[in-house]
Point group: C2
Chain length 424, copies 2
């Protein structure tokens, strides 16, 4: 099994240079992550520091037959300049024209790659009210594009690039050079770049996660019960829910891996059937602000109490984005022995941290996690329990002491014990 | 007069650092170039090497009240990757969704700043057929956005940033460091950054060009006759043509300076009334390919013969873009004593070289250069003689030996002698 706990290698294997590993990451992102088809356009967003990886991804995309790669490079200083110098009335505006354009790119057949690696704390010192207003405006402007992605109509993927700001947060006791090297090593190891054939390794890993999903789909649980010293939460699952994990086939017929790394299996909870209390087990970086020690209480599916030891106002603004922001859109199971968890590191990046622990997400549900959901109307999706929101924010609740029971017809059966699957 | 011939200073004045001059350039671009209004969005395109200038422009834009600045940073390697690795069938595609989005940005009130500085010879070694097909597809996709700019519906401006590739071409005998410093000096000097008050200096210069335009508008010439040892060209002017120069008020009511530097006065020729032969006096960099020693013959407004000592196939493809690409869309007068001409340098960049010499442009006409043109239908514009095309390409025909006569009712009067205005 590819998810057996093995610590990530502390240094790169001697036979591959950094440049070679970067090239392999680019190749695996194009071939396994996106499954890019001949003639497809590709839209990339990336932090400026990821430019060497962007160039290699672009090369592999064209070699795979891409017709045109359009890349938006984000510079942190340009993002910060708005908070430092713009007038107060600026923060309710978004570039609607660009977000509409991106939705049209998807509609006309483009694939989508996000390269994550932005400074997790970029906006931490900025005015929280302005950050919230700007993000709300951006979320509204980007809703149509996000819907196409969450409905999985197109092939898309997210990979990561190590950047100095992120590395400094993930490895606070290392020199900048060592921190960057260690973060790259973690990215390469968790994306299976050092395997003899990374694309084949991803196919095997994807098959393993698909098998686990199939096992859970046979169970037809009504709910999951999470229990630890800090959590006692019953998550009702949506009617006709479907577990997914590993690769999946998009609405355009192309098989892709939406997250690299990925260690999770996930499905859609029922928006009105979550009950109890839950505590985060890792900090959350939400749009540049860190939120620590989240504790919330759900009643009838809805958050009725929420606290955090740090970033509470950001948490409150997040769950106040709209009605759906107080309800669950995703529940995901990850063994505590996942290779990312086994590093013992806090990555301050959801793409990594969510694959180190079982997690829940507030906000928009994935319609692909409902049988027949891809073709349902919003009303049909809601009647099955799928949540609707401008946001989709994952946060981590799993740990080595988490037990999970599956509940069907009022009967509980052990699903995970001390963070590990009882079966498979 | 601000256009009296003074050689550009070879080095920066001692009192201003490079950073200070960069900041002044950014400020003058926002305040005099764009005239950015409170609450306006701003769209910037720039080469990646111009990032320090982009950051300063962004700061000044927000200080001037911009609601949101969206910047597209272009990386030469990403542009080249398509030519190196993409399949042949890729080159007829363009990112229509992005070009439509940009047109929508303008329609929703955004201003536009282009920072020029791309490698003038970036695509010189790539397959000319692919370059031509890609540019044609991009031109078609960008037509709606370009129309909004050429109709001057929004405030827009073009400024320049020195980049290593451009500097190497402009100063081939200098070290890379010296070449870059000299190109920056030329940019700063020609954009009046070293004046005590650069914004005030630009207002004075703009008033001077507006006065020259007013003088030409009183003349009501039917045609201009360009004559030198290599050129004998009669350019018929459009019916109800209007000369423009310096700043102008956009359709959205905002005064801006579309080019910085600018030394020209220009108007719209009649698309069917140009006759004779004309030779370029400076090489043209057209979409990454250099075209040298252009010689063309016009008959009835249309190019019927065209040769070049270098880049002839690119020239032929350019004038073959569509029917309007063989006809004139602009004629512009620049004294040979302009400060840019006085440098004696070839900049390999139209923004500079066109302000060192009188020039003509093939392709799209500016409807703003016709009395009442802003509100005319395409049919009305055509009936006055305004040309229509996907392209608009300026090339230089002026020199210190160029004489120009103004012709009205069959009578010629001297307008320029040996490259200088006879009056004003």
């Amino acid at each position: 099994m590819t998810t057996v706990a093995v610590p990530l290698p502390p240094t790169a294997p001697r036979q591959l240079s950094h440049e070679q590993r970067l090239d392999r990451l680019a190749e695996v992102a194009v071939k396994a992550g996106l499954g890019l088809a001949h003639g497809q356009e590709l839209l990339i967003t990336a932090p400026l520091d990821a430019l060497p990886l962007v160039r290699r991804v672009t090369e592999h995309a064209y070699k795979a037959g891409a017709s045109l790669v359009t890349t938006f490079l984000n510079d942190d200083e340009l993002t910060l300049a708005r908070y430092r110098f713009a007038p107060d009335d600026a923060f309710d505006r978004a570039n609607v024209w660009l977000q509409d354009g991106i939705a049209n790119a998807y509609r006309s057949g483009a694939a989508r790659l996000r390269i994550a690696g932005d400074d997790p704390a970029l906006l931490a010192k900025q005015d929280a009210g302005k950050v919230g207003r700007a993000n709300l405006a951006a979320s509204k402007a980007g809703r149509a594009a996000l819907d196409i992605v969450t409905r999985h109509e197109i092939n898309w993927s997210i990979i990561a690039a190590a950047t100095p700001a992120w590395a400094a947060l993930a490895f606070p006791h290392e020199s900048p050079e060592n921190a960057l090297a260690k973060l790259w090593n973690a990215i390469f190891a968790s994306t299976r770049i050092d395997a003899d054939d990374p694309v084949a390794a991803w196919k095997a890993h994807s098959a393993h996660l698909q098998k686990r999903s199939a096992m859970l789909n046979e169970k037809r649980y009504d709910a999951l019960h999470f229990k630890s010293s800090v959590t006692d939460l019953r998550v009702g699952l949506s009617d006709g829910h479907k577990w997914l994990g590993g690769g999946s086939v998009a609405g355009n017929g192309i098989a892709c891996l939406p997250n690299m790394p990925t260690e999770e299996v996930f499905t859609t909870p029922h928006k009105d059937r979550t009950q109890g209390t839950v505590a985060s087990t890792k900090p959350l970086s939400y749009q540049g602000v860190l939120i620590k020690d989240i504790r919330v209480r759900f009643d009838g599916g809805r958050i009725v109490e929420a606290t955090a030891s740090e970033g509470q106002s950001t948490l409150e603004r997040m769950i106040g984005s709209d009605e759906g922001a107080r309800k669950l859109g995703e529940v995901a199971l990850v063994p505590h022995s996942s290779p990312i968890s086994a590093t013992g590191l806090l990555f301050w990046n959801t793409l990594f941290d969510e694959n180190a622990a079982s997690h829940i997400a507030l906000g928009q549900a994935y319609s692909t996690c409902l049988e027949g959901g891809e073709t349902m109307t919003p009303e049909q999706l809601a009647s099955r329990g799928a949540n609707d929101s401008l946001i989709h924010v994952d946060w981590m609740i799993g740990s080595g002491e988490m037990n999970v029971d599956g509940i069907r017809d009022g009967q509980a059966e052990p699903l995970m014990r001390s963070g590990e699957f009882v079966q498979g």
